[in-house]
């Protein structure tokens, strides 16, 4: 029973985080939600009895891709700020 509730909550959370990552007005927020999404998916992989994938998802999917995207957002932002000044 507890696990059923957990799965329902986790699945819903993944959808909500994904929607946030896809449609947030602010880009920075979208990327942060993407990282959150990646961590939730890592949990889902554990529920699917795929610990290898969970590790990879957390390290690469959420961690590295997230870092890459955050770096890019920061870059775009700072360049924009410079332009305005």
């Amino acid at each position: 029973m507890v696990t059923v509730v957990f799965d329902v909550v986790l699945g819903t959370g993944m959808i909500i985080a994904a929607l946030g990552a896809l449609w947030s007005r602010e880009l920075f927020r979208a990327v942060v939600l993407f990282v959150v999404f990646g961590l939730l998916v890592a949990l889902a992989w554990i529920r699917l009895q795929a610990p290898d994938v969970a590790l990879a998802e957390a390290a690469i999917g959420a961690g590295l891709t997230g870092a890459l995207l955050l770096d890019a957002v920061g870059h775009l932002r700072s360049a924009r700020r410079e332009e305005r000044e």
């Binding site: 610990p51 290898d52 590790l55 390290a59 590295l64 870092a67 920061g74 700072s78 410079e82």
Partner: protein
């Protein structure tokens, strides 16, 4: 973004959702139980962990090509960094960058460095028996590198371009050389001799870890703007 574009995208999205729902509902349950086949073949593979066996034995050719994909991405990143862009935006010290250079982070880094190194090696070694392996270990090493780069190299070590290129390619090169060497022995490509399988796989995993880490880090560090910040 126009209204028409959003509307048509929404319709497409709904269409895909319905189609996939139907596909999932009507899935036939015919066919082969490949998981059982894998289980039966594990004793012959030289490794105990099933995923590692799939990645480096049964479907090792896929993994070889996958490492090639990573190598290509890293090569393109290096190529684009090398070329002088016509109108490069000057490098900027942003507020975020300054905030990152704190003593706290430096301390954290000094603490995390050995921990992450140990984690990476453990993950690599564990891959033969339980979850873990070259990819996860490589990613942890790459994360280490990212942290290193973000806060400036604490040990004052910089790696020359030639070394970095060598580290980038070594995983793929060793994997390819080992696989092709089997052809010289009159065996199929990537067909390891049973008694050597384990040692070969671990050796390949080790160099793969290095190359995966360097590729991922290289992809992170070789954006045109980041290049300007490096000596």
């Amino acid at each position: 973004m126009t209204r028409a574009r959003t509307l048509s995208a929404g319709l497409l999205s709904a269409g895909v959702a319905v189609t996939l729902a139907l596909a999932i509902r009507d899935r036939p349950r015919a066919g082969i139980d490949l998981a059982a086949t894998v289980r039966n073949a594990i004793p012959d593979s030289g490794v105990e962990h099933d995923i590692t066996a799939v990645l480096l034995q049964f479907r090792s050719y896929d993994t070889l090509l996958e490492i090639a994909v990573l190598l290509v991405a890293a090569v393109v990143a290096l190529a684009l960094r090398d070329e002088p862009s016509s109108r490069t935006v000057p490098p900027l010290e942003t507020a975020e960058d300054e905030a990152i250079n704190t003593p706290l982070l430096a301390a954290l880094q000094r603490l995390l460095l050995p921990v992450m190194l140990v984690t990476a090696v453990y993950l690599l070694w564990a891959g033969a028996f339980q979850p873990g392996g070259a990819f996860q270990a490589g990613a942890v090493l790459a994360a280490l590198g990212v942290l290193w780069r973000v806060a400036g190299s604490p040990l004052g070590v910089t790696i020359s371009a030639a070394w970095r290129r060598g580290a980038l390619v070594i995983g793929f090169a060793v994997f390819l050389a080992a696989g092709s060497a089997m052809l010289l022995l009159g065996r199929p490509l990537l067909n390891w001799p049973a008694e050597w399988a384990k040692i070969i796989i671990i050796a390949i995993e080790f160099v793969l870890m290095l190359s995966i880490a360097v590729s991922l880090l290289g992809l992170f560090a070789s954006s045109p703007n980041a290049a300007d910040q490096q000596p």
